[in-house]
């Protein structure tokens, strides 16, 4: 892996827009999103429908059939993603950027063994024998702290629990050693008890391999503890871009509102404040709405 932090950023996004053509007219899910990403951990937060998941998919070129992506710039490691052929895309996806999905119950193929799915991810990008790919997959399963990799290798997704399924997902998506990993709500479907454990495994691997991470979540405190930088999205736009450590000093009323809605353990609150939405948030810049 070459060090790119000093040179060009890993990912440059400028004015990204995702439209969907529906029978009831066009819907703009992402409206002019811009950011650059180095080898860092970026959190994207927002409520449902804010366009955070669509941003992740657009970066991977996997917007659903009726959607269209436009952008002034969409560049990954200096390569223009908008002009890639399907074949070039396949060399990028998995190998150089990958995504961890929300719920292993649906995101793993139910009729293929866990091992076959991991091996497939590896052999898609590395010309190795089946036996070697198997060894790699077993080692990767051990890396995500699965105790009996041999046995888990031969199981089917319905035979493992959610926490284990998500660790399998992490193993599968990290085995080709991508440079960028997009985690789309990776722990939302999990029990609170295994959530931290899965996050810790992800955190370890991302640090160890020096990968960049885009962490998509609606959980503001989680994102702030896990990431270096946070983008707050509202209705398809970034309304605030701030360092995770400076979250408490957020200026945008939406971010402040989100923070205000969270219950605090050390203060007694009879009622939690409700977010009062301002129509100006939809179009106004940070300066305009804080005036």
């Amino acid at each position: 892996m070459t060090d790119l932090t000093s040179a060009a950023p890993l990912l440059e996004v400028e004015d990204l827009r995702v439209h969907f053509h529906t029978p009831r007219g066009a819907v703009e899910a992402v409206r002019g999103l811009s950011f650059t990403l180095g080898r860092e951990r970026l959190g994207i937060v927002g409520e449902s429908g804010s366009g955070k998941s669509q941003t992740g998919r657009a970066i991977l070129g996997l917007t659903a059939g009726n959607g269209r992506i436009t952008a002034k710039t969409l560049r990954f490691q200096g390569q223009d993603l908008l002009s890639l052929s399907p074949k070039q895309w396949r060399a990028v996806r998995g190998a150089r950027m990958s995504m961890i999905m929300q719920d292993p119950k649906y995101s793993l193929n139910p009729v293929m063994t866990v091992g076959d799915q991991i091996v497939e991810a590896y052999r898609q990008h590395h010309r190795v024998s089946a036996a070697e790919a198997r060894l790699r997959a077993l080692a990767m399963l051990a890396r995500v702290k699965i105790r009996d990799p041999e046995r888990v290798f031969a199981t089917y997704p319905h035979e493992v629990s959610g926490g284990m399924g998500q660790r399998i997902m992490i193993a599968m998506m990290l085995i080709p050693e991508p440079d960028l990993i997009i985690a789309d709500e990776p722990t939302s479907a999990l029990d609170v008890t295994v959530r931290l454990q899965v996050l810790a495994i992800l955190d370890d691997l991302v640090r160890e391999r020096g990968m960049a991470l885009i962490f998509i979540s609606h959980d503001l405190p989680l994102v702030s503890s896990f990431c270096d930088r946070i983008l707050v999205m509202y209705k398809g736009r970034v309304v605030e871009d701030l360092k995770a450590s400076e979250l408490h000093a957020a200026r945008h009323p939406y971010t402040q509102g989100l923070l205000g809605c969270l219950p605090k353990l050390d203060q007694r609150q009879e009622t939690l404040p409700v977010l009062r939405r301002d129509p100006r948030w939809e179009h106004g810049t940070l300066e305009e709405v804080t005036r």
């Binding site: 996997l62 396949r90 060399a91 998995g94 719920d103 139910p110 009729v111 991810a121 493992v160 931290l196």
Partner: protein
């Protein structure tokens, strides 16, 4: 990040049903397979018994006097009484049923009034004709229908989809006898590409000695290529016709199953991994489509195995469908009930087969 869990937390592969982790997996699997086979056999026996009860009751409920059917309506009263007793009709119903079951298990379905031969002999003669036709039609229907359905789903709303849908619509709406007659007129009478009605040319039929009754198989076994070619030319048109109908059904169902599967998350996962679109469709999605598709194919096959009366009539095909129909029209109850038991048995067999295939294709069904 706090709360690092080095110990790995609860390790959670769900224990297998037997719960005996110490026993070797091979033995557990064997034991489980044995249990499953027993359970399947049990349910098969119950289903078959139900089938026998129904056929037996139908035979008793219908306003057709089996004695009259045997002796004719001009027989004197003493002959009638003698036959009545010979048939055991004076015995209580449960006794009659028991005798009936025993006879069925000995392969005795009684004698056909129409052909004056044992019903079983008749069925052994007509069933292979239907089996041959239904099997070829189903194989063709699956080989063409599944890829067509997949293509239609993948190119949803574009021309391949429209073609498949129009083809399917014709398959659904054209009456088979009309299509069969037009087919015969065009390909047999005008173009002379295929053989006419019947399973073989009349001249050949007299010389040919069937073994299994499946003419194509018999001809191959005997190395008689002339008969084989002739049989192929005769079966082509009716098989293509039935294949077309099962294709229309299979393609339509494949299309809708495929659309459902392509919208699943694991398909996105495969694409994220960089898997080629062909592999996403034919390995990942189709692997899951096969599960519900088994039922569809099995139903379509079982339906064809009942014998398709219209097709068999148009093509003078001596199959099960025309046999049962003509027996029914002539009030030949032994033949009708014997045929019904065979059809029911075929359904039970196909269900068993699709159960087994389910386990093959769906790991979730193996428990």
């Amino acid at each position: 990040m706090t709360g690092r869990a080095e110990q790995g937390g609860p390790e959670t592969v769900r224990p297998s049903r037997s719960g005996a982790r110490q026993a070797s997996p091979g033995r557990i699997r064997l034991k489980r397979a044995g249990m499953m086979a027993l359970r399947t056999l049990g349910s098969l026996a119950v289903t078959f018994l139900g089938l026998l009860i129904i056929t037996f009751l139908i035979g008793r409920v219908l306003p057709i006097d089996p004695v009259l059917a045997a002796v004719g309506d001009r027989a004197p009263a003493d002959v009638y009484d003698r036959v009545y007793h010979e048939m055991g009709l004076h015995l209580p119903l449960y006794q009659q049923f028991f005798d009936y079951v025993m006879r069925v298990f000995q392969g005795d379905f009684g004698t056909s009034v129409l052909t004056s031969r044992p019903v079983l002999d008749d069925i052994v003669r007509v069933f292979p004709a239907t089996l041959e036709l239904a099997t070829i039609a189903t194989i063709l229907g699956v080989l063409l229908g599944v890829p067509m359905g997949v293509l239609a789903a993948v190119h949803r709303g574009r021309w391949p989809d429209h073609c498949v849908r129009v083809l399917g619509l014709f398959g659904y709406s054209l009456p088979v006898f009309w299509l069969g007659l037009v087919g015969l007129l065009l390909f047999y009478m005008k173009l002379d590409w295929v053989g006419g009605p019947g399973r073989l040319d009349a001249a050949m039929e007299d010389f040919f000695e069937p073994v299994t009754g499946l003419i194509l198989v018999d001809a191959l076994l005997q190395g008689d290529m002339e008969v084989f070619r002739n049989a192929v030319s005769h079966i082509t048109l009716p098989a293509a016709l039935l294949a077309y109908f099962s294709l229309a059904y299979i393609a339509r169902m494949t299309r809708s199953f495929m659309l459902e599967q392509l919208a699943q998350e694991y398909v996105l996962t495969a694409r994220v991994k960089g898997v080629s679109e062909a592999r996403v469709i034919w390995r990942h999605a189709l692997g899951n489509v096969m599960v519900p598709l088994i039922t569809v194919i099995a139903l379509s096959y079982a339906h064809l195995l009942e014998g398709s009366v219209l097709t068999e009539t148009v093509f003078a095909w001596p199959g099960l469908g025309s046999y049962i129909t003509s027996s029914l029209l002539n009030a030949d109850m032994n033949a009708v009930l014997g045929g019904t038991i065979i059809v029911g048995g075929v359904f039970i067999g196909i269900n068993l087969l699709s159960d087994l295939l389910y386990r093959l294709f769906d790991p979730r069904a193996r428990r």
